[in-house]
């Protein structure tokens, strides 16, 4: 299954939870996640099922002001 993470193409050999995919990609908490432009709340990171062609964005918090 082909997906992208932060614009980078990734091939998954089997269906995997969203959280595992982004952790394998190297994401370090804290982060927010979006799939196809839709924010996925943290409570759904584990259970979220990815589909062919999904575009994942790992969004790092910005706190400065």
């Amino acid at each position: 299954m082909k997906i992208t993470v932060n614009g980078q193409a990734i091939e998954l050999t089997q269906a995997q939870p969203l959280l595992k995919v982004v952790e394998d990609f190297g994401a370090l908490a804290p982060f927010a996640l979006a799939v196809n432009g839709q924010f996925v709340p943290k409570s759904q990171h584990q259970a979220f099922v990815l589909n062919e062609g999904d575009m994942i964005d790992i969004l790092s918090p910005v706190q400065g002001g």
Binding site: G37, F39, V62
Partner: protein
């Protein structure tokens, strides 16, 4: 309430707009916006809201002006060093627009009797630089159902979110970033490109004006991410986390 002839002239470029006009300008005049943090974001946001004729502004910040602030905190001049940020900002803004009312709270938001203060406010702008204040402001705004315009910037990145808590389904800041720690980066330890603050702070002022004039026109329930080096904007649709510890329906 009416606009004086001086105000008619001062705000003439707003009055020409279909989306603002005299009715919209009067809404701005009747409004009270609270700006938390008078640093890199708070300075441009306050300048634009004062110039635009928002009738009452309350500025909250405990800090004095330091030399390293002047790279980006555009209300302050070199001869203002060591003075109070809120007092100096209020003087500058009052000189810009004597028609508006300015209140200053020279304290941290946590010690500002914030919930009582925002009870009568229309909008809060979060222009702070740390997670603890952002969580505190979010909780208070959610409890009081006061709209929150959250801005942030670091290095070459900026983010903007608008939460209209009068809507039951609104997400909150905590839904988006539930697990921030104090060790995260801020402008003092990571740096920031000066104009990024102007871009995000100006967008906070713009979204505040849109909320005040016509709630439907504002950028609610979205996370807007700005990348200065790519000069790109990306937008993500936000939803509430039903397990959010502040606003969650299942908590």
């Amino acid at each position: 309430m009416q606009l004086s002839s001086q105000e008619q002239l001062r705000y003439s470029r707003h009055l020409l707009l279909d989306k603002i006009g005299e009715a919209g300008q009067l809404k701005l005049k009747k409004s009270h916006v609270v700006i938390v943090g008078c640093g890199g974001l708070g300075c441009p946001a306050a300048l634009y809201l004062a110039a635009s004729g928002v009738g009452e502004l309350t500025l909250i910040d405990a800090d004095n002006i330091e030399l390293s602030n002047l790279q980006r905190q555009i209300l302050y001049k070199t001869n203002h060093l060591k003075r109070s940020k809120v007092q100096t900002a209020a003087n500058q803004l009052q000189a810009l627009n004597p028609e508006i009312k300015l209140n200053t709270i020279e304290n941290t938001v946590e010690n500002a009797d914030f919930s009582a203060l925002i009870n009568t406010a229309d909008i809060v702008l979060d222009c702070t630089d740390n997670a603890a204040s952002r969580y505190f402001i979010n909780r208070a705004c959610w409890q009081q159902q006061v709209a929150l315009v959250s801005g942030a910037a670091i290095r070459g990145e900026g983010q903007l979110m608008v939460f209209n808590f009068s809507e039951q389904s609104s997400p909150c800041y905590q839904c988006v970033y539930p697990d921030l720690s104090e060790e995260n980066l801020n402008c003092s330890n990571a740096g920031v490109v000066s104009p990024v603050l102007g871009i995000i702070g100006s967008m906070q002022a713009l979204e505040a004006i849109k909320l005040l004039v016509d709630k439907k026109s504002s950028q609610q329930n979205k996370l807007l991410c700005f990348d200065a080096w790519q000069m790109s904007f990306h937008q993500f649709n936000l939803i509430a986390d039903e397990h959010c510890k502040i606003c969650g329906k299942n908590e």
